[in-house]
Symmetry: D2
């Protein structure tokens, strides 16, 4: 099927927001041609933001990692992660006790650097949980799935506390047609075991969009939401989130959503992007 | 059981946000003593916002209605409704066609005044639906439940379009121990029939909180979220929304949540308020 | 698209089970040619059962109603309804108090004739509910949706009791492309308001299949499940139920599932019929 | 709190059905006194059945394992497992291709011995999946959670096929207050990733009850369901299943449901046992 060119559509907008995985990079690394797209956005005088449901790396580490892949023309303040939202929440909301987490030591270090102690699930002494005041699902790596998911279930059965999910994605692409279970999937399993709902961060929730929007207004003065285009590869996060926040949305077929499933996915979810393009490089 | 006084807690905060139904008023009218509470908030130099999941009345009508009940010391800009959020979304997102709705003519008039035509479900000619471009659940009144809910289901089966829920509340209190099904409940029924998820506005979503926060910053300059107290009677909307937005939360027992169920409700939902008080008048 | 003939497939089976609505009859009455199909089944010496998620009429009334439509060659014992299952449950399980119900007086009379008193929701005195021992969702007619659904919600909030759903269907077809909300949809709304799960009867649950199977064995001696064909128009009830019970399943396109949606519906639900035919008359 | 004696209640029934885990045994082995209880049941001339949501061991292995623990007075035909139901389904429903599974080699061997080949997820060549005709979740052991759950998700994304869950339990007790994620939890995770519903076997579904009931009738002639008592430690499986099948139900506090949570659990689930006892040994 024929799809319109990303550039033909994007040129009508003042702000371009891109999802990262499935739009800018994929399992093989940077999507070829992405540096040109970012250059084009900037040369055209458009504002740019990268909105990523990723809680495994700090803003700095994200920039560094994209740089290593060959994408060097992104500024620190142009990167917005769901981890940043979770960090903000924890700083404002949890003021005593220890924060328990499931994820890598690295993600714990930057997200939980709010003065409070943090402790990996594997290090928790289950007979001594009185001082644990919150729980965070940070990442799908850095722990033993079998042992530590079970330990998490038992901890949260024993003590009622705020539980935060720093990245709501249920899966992420790892090969052309393959995905892997992400933190959001693991949290969903635990939610289902406990019959509870945790506090979710990341798209489709509004926080990252709002944060981006506030920053844009600070930088450029008033911006009409009609002038913002959100581009993503996933209906349930990028497109739903963008639609809900009130900006225009473009679905690209370079990631989670495969061309042969677009129609089924839109019909069965009821989430309708304003545009569909093959990728942001054509 | 003994609960702390609202005033003792509220005095530590710079901004007080109150839910309306179950906090400020109930099925019998204004909760006695509320004007004093609002006076106290203002005399103490605190900022004030009323956050209500109500899409049946415009900001002006809300103010007028509260005034008629005897609450006269609330300013127009202090009132924030989920209907305002839905209105904003529709203005920015739907630019052609007609907007179909389920609700009263009055709610349709103020929410859908964006230049686009609107049409009540009962007036739709089902053989002529090509120009209908969006659907809004506005209110639980103003239509025949049996006929028009069925017509809504059939319309949305026939045409894929953005569906907006202007008020996510599933029920509202109508007597001391009684509730009534609200728009959110009806939308849930239709979602379940179609196996789709609509776009929800109102608490617990972040939009109303963000809107309030932006307005406060414009009015008062920078405000730390730690200085904001959100007070509500419902765990799943007021408290979850406040927790998620990162402000302090107080559950009051003057509405949806009954004293004998507080513990069960908190344990089984996992939504934990920072404070519990009997009401905002003690 | 070309579909195989029902007769070519059915001739390989010893038992034919048909769903009623969407297979044998539709909104206009009997599907033309159905008496021939039933005659053929019987002349071929096959056993026959009609499995219907209907709790509004007794077995006798079902037979009478089909006869009035022109289908006279069905025996009483060949008709199995979800209402019969609910009746059985109530007789065995509820032994004291009154049974409250939402539905027509007629459906209440035959289902609740177990010696216990029954009372329509509209007749309940909400200050006097101590003797109500169970609740049954019987039918989508016979009550005022707005008033009585609200009353039901409040009754079930006030008293914990077994709640039975005599027909799980969420909707039923009323015109070529139109559906109407059924009892199952209303119960779903109430379940969602109360965050509870009721006891569901009717396909896809196994009870009706088991009941039919036991009767067949009594009548004919041992029957291999491989020799049974279940035919229905709805994936989530007829086909899922038949698959789960272990018989062969055929989806027909004369009811709920429209030809243009078959593929989407199967893919997105993961419920796979063994055969797809246009109807049971071709 | 005081609870009635199991024996005082059980003596009024002709058939006693016991759940296994949490009733007869726990993480430490056999619950002390169980052989006496089984002896009593048999000496009193009551019929006995053990209904277990376990698909990891065959009937013979179950008997052997209980024998090793010290429970020797249970006959082979008195043991009914969810694995037996899944086996029956596969034999009747899947007649060609290979059956893929997640679980131990042992469980695969007895369940999938229907003449068809079976293949562990870890052994599947993802480029060669055309001959895989069904998928079974058998057990929470016997595979690498991280690798093989991801592989399962990708297999089921690539090919639509019947997916069977041989044990619906989401968790099982492993210590006094601790649980472990069971097959049902893992299947739930995969269902949530794919937005699909699999075919569930085991309580609360009716199949095991029906199978037991049919066997009892064959052995003893007609049995009134009112004379059957189902005893279990879990509201959502044992009690819901028993209630739905129409027999009397007893919740015991020797397993999943802890005394301090009984009231909350019953209220919030709406699943009401006919009796509550501390255990089946008092």
């Amino acid at each position: 099927m024929e799809y319109p060119s990303f550039f033909d559509i994007a040129k009508e907008y003042k702000v371009i927001m891109l999802d990262s995985y499935g739009v800018v990079k994929n399992h093989k690394g940077l999507i070829e041609g992405i540096p040109n797209t970012i250059d084009w956005i900037k040369k055209e005088g458009k504002a740019f933001r990268l909105l990523t449901n990723d809680a495994s790396r700090s803003q700095e580490q994200q920039k560094e990692s994209l740089g290593r892949l060959g994408l060097k023309n992104i500024d620190l303040h142009e990167i917005i992660t769901s981890g940043m939202m979770a960090k903000q929440f924890l700083e404002q909301k949890i003021t005593s006790g220890k924060i328990a987490y499931l994820g890598t030591e690295n993600s714990a270090e930057y997200i939980l650097q709010s003065g409070l102690e943090h402790i990996a699930v594997s290090d928790i002494d289950m007979d001594n949980i009185d001082d644990i005041s919150a729980f965070v699902f940070l990442d799908d790596e850095g722990f033993d799935w079998n042992t530590d998911i079970n330990k998490t279930v038992n901890l949260l059965r024993k003590k009622t506390m705020p539980v935060i999910l720093a990245n709501s994605d249920k899966y992420y692409p790892v090969a052309k047609h393959d995905v892997a279970v992400a933190t959001g999937g693991i949290a969903k399993l635990v939610e289902s075991m406990l019959s509870k709902k945790f506090i979710h961060f990341g798209k489709p929730d509004s926080q990252m969009f709002m944060y981006a929007y506030e920053g844009l207004i600070e930088e450029y003065g008033f911006i009409d939401k009609k002038d913002i285009l959100m581009v993503g590869d996933t209906l349930g996060t990028d497109i739903l989130g963008g639609n809900k926040f009130g900006v225009k949305t473009m679905l690209v077929l370079s990631g989670n959503t495969r061309e042969e499933n677009v129609d089924i996915n839109i019909k069965s979810s009821g989430i309708i992007p304003d545009y569909i393009c093959r990728s942001v490089i054509e």
